[in-house]
């Protein structure tokens, strides 16, 4: 513990977590298809910041790809790109960025711009004719680049996890510690009702908390809310149940309130903050951490909430993430109820 923790911290904060973005998937829609556009595209593809994901034939596909969330940036070259450069000495390209994460969008856009400038400078050396490529940037979903859009969903996930996991586990363990759990188990009170009666108040409390955060973030922080309120609360309820199950599992592993609190905080909060993706972009982390982040329920909820609130998407877009959360809940419930039963006998 004494040696592991500092080592883990150095590795995490020094090496794995960085704000520089590498290998970000981008799309290119090249209507020009001339050597000029090809040269620029190659330059972009070679850059370590980007990974050319797709070459599209139709810019309509860009919207769909953004909705899927795998690509954050798209570049469109107009049809007369080469001619514009040769005759008018300037041409426009369009850059579309997914600004639901404004920091990433800005960074990526800047990378593209600097690659453009680089290209223009190189060209000046070999070809004295001036050339200007003007990128027209459009920030999708969040044109004002409000930082809240990135932060608030992450905070929502964090608070739900904190209240549900921590409070549930501590509450059940407290009964064990005080001895009242034993009395409840001897009484005609069904043991599963004990669990439910612990879970229900925290479920309701979390929903209230969530509503307050939602109201504050929409009206005070000017967060957009473009999706369905019903879907939002349905998905949030799913996350709450996942966290309650997690709290139940933790309560099964220990008989001391302090241990339950420690496990809930250290074991849950810190990985959640780091691996959800709202403070540090997940794309930059080494694959081991990215793999680990799939285990964090908050990560999936973060994607779901951003899709609903910022992109205004419906269930069709987020069914995969919802299924993951649902699967996690079922697994956790099964394991913790089984352990609870074993404890009874």
């Amino acid at each position: 513990m004494l040696f592991g923790l500092p080592i883990a911290q150095i590795v995490l904060f020094g090496f794995a977590l960085t704000n520089e973005i590498r290998n970000s998937r981008i799309m290119v829609c090249d209507y020009a298809r001339d050597e000029l556009s090809q040269r620029i595209i190659n330059k972009i593809a070679v850059s370590r910041n980007f990974k050319l994901d797709r070459s599209l034939n139709d810019h309509q596909e860009i919207e769909a790809a953004f909705k899927e969330g795998k690509v954050r940036l798209a570049i469109i070259f107009p049809v007369h790109f080469k001619e514009d450069i040769q005759h008018n000495h300037h041409a426009q390209i369009q850059i579309l960025a997914d600004a639901s994460d404004p920091n990433t969008a800005t960074t990526l856009t800047n990378y593209v711009s600097s690659i453009m400038e680089d290209y223009q400078r190189e060209n000046l050396i070999s070809n004295p004719l001036p050339m200007q490529i003007m990128p027209e940037v459009r920030m999708l979903y969040n044109p004002e680049l409000k930082g809240a859009t990135n932060f608030v969903p992450g905070v929502m996930a964090m608070i739900l996890m904190l209240i549900c996991v921590l409070m549930t586990s501590v509450s059940i363990v407290r009964e064990k510690e005080l001895g009242t759990m034993e009395v409840l188990l001897v009484s005609p009170f069904n043991p599963f009702m004990v669990i439910i009666s612990k879970a229900v108040p925290y479920f309701l409390l979390s929903l209230v908390n969530l509503s307050i955060i939602l109201v504050l973030s929409v009206f005070l922080l000017e967060m957009p809310f473009n999706g369905s309120l019903l879907l939002f609360f349905a998905e949030s309820s799913l996350l709450i149940i996942t966290c309650l199950s997690l709290g139940l599992l933790i309560s099964n592993t220990t008989n001391s309130q302090q241990a339950a609190m420690l496990i809930s905080l250290m074991g849950m909060l810190i990985p959640t903050i780091i691996l959800t993706g709202f403070l540090f972009p997940l794309e930059n982390m080494p694959w081991a951490l990215r793999l680990l982040s799939n285990l964090i329920p908050a990560k999936w909820y973060y994607i779901i909430v951003k899709s609903i609130m910022i992109k205004g998407l419906g269930f069709k877009a987020i069914w995969r993430e919802s299924l993951v959360l649902f699967g996690m809940t079922c697994f956790l419930l099964l394991v913790s109820l089984k352990r609870f039963k074993i404890r009874l006998s």
Binding site: L178, G179, T180, E182, V183, L184, L185, V186, S187, P188, F189, L344, S345
Partner: protein
């Protein structure tokens, strides 16, 4: 011929290699105060947990209040009361709230609960204290209250697991007055303790050593059998060759 309310037949509990309770067989009759004695680690608590339906026997059978503990533990739980050595009441709730909660768990209707609360106030002399937090009561009061709540539904048998730990002899005596009152009402009291003077208050006692019952009889008879002047000596005689230490 008195009714048998508890009967066990080679009741055993094993944890892996370790046999905590080794094939004990005994009977308890209705209305009696049955003392379940033994040193720490002798297997008292484990045996009691089986009788309460809290833990499943490894082998052997036990019938409590007419139900088999292995097959119908939920029925057993409906007909017994229980008070453990740690406190059974919620310290953050008031006396009234605790009575209401446990009354509700045992299926008492609102009217019955209100009547019971009144009876309790009288019996324990609580007077104006109903709204007080249980946490603020002195230990002796908590114990007496916990006992009263344990029998609130007038069960056939009440199991007390070392109920009088940590209080002075006078308070202990007052607690036992409550036990006598319950016994007079026909409730069988199954009490485990390691206070040997409390053994004298029981109708019959059993002595557990190393997981088995070494003796079972009325206190007076035991003293005669072992030529002892007090239960302390009887205990010493029986337990000094025990191989198990306290856990």
């Amino acid at each position: 011929m008195k009714d048998v309310v508890i009967s066990t037949d080679k009741l055993t509990k094993q944890f892996g290699e370790f046999v905590a309770v080794d094939a004990i067989s005994f009977e308890v009759y209705q209305g009696e105060i049955f003392g379940f004695l033994g040193a720490n680690g002798a297997g008292k608590t484990t045996a009691m947990r089986m009788l309460c339906g809290l833990s499943k026997p490894s082998s052997g059978t036990a019938m409590v209040a007419g139900f088999d503990v292995s097959r119908h533990p939920e029925q057993v739980k409906k007909h017994i009361g229980y008070m453990s050595q740690k406190f059974s009441l919620y310290e953050d709730l008031s006396i009234q709230e605790n009575i209401r909660f446990f009354g509700g768990i045992y299926g008492l209707k609102d009217k019955e609960i209100r009547q019971k609360s009144k009876d309790l106030i009288e019996q324990l002399g609580l007077g104006q204290e109903l709204g007080k937090m249980v946490g603020s009561l002195p230990l002796g009061w908590k114990q007496k209250l916990a006992f009263s709540v344990a029998v609130i539904h007038e069960p056939k048998i009440v199991f007390l697991d070392e109920p009088t730990g940590g209080v002075d002899p006078i308070t202990r005596r007052q607690f036992w007055d409550l036990i006598y009152a319950a016994s007079d009402r026909g409730i069988t009291v199954f009490v485990s303790t390691h206070y040997m003077d409390e053994a004298e208050y029981c109708n019959r006692i059993s002595m557990m050593v190393d997981g088995t019952i070494k003796a079972l009889d009325a206190p007076a008879q035991l003293k005669r059998t072992y030529g002892a002047r007090s239960m302390d000596e009887v205990f010493f005689e029986l337990a000094r060759n025990a191989s198990r230490k306290a856990d």
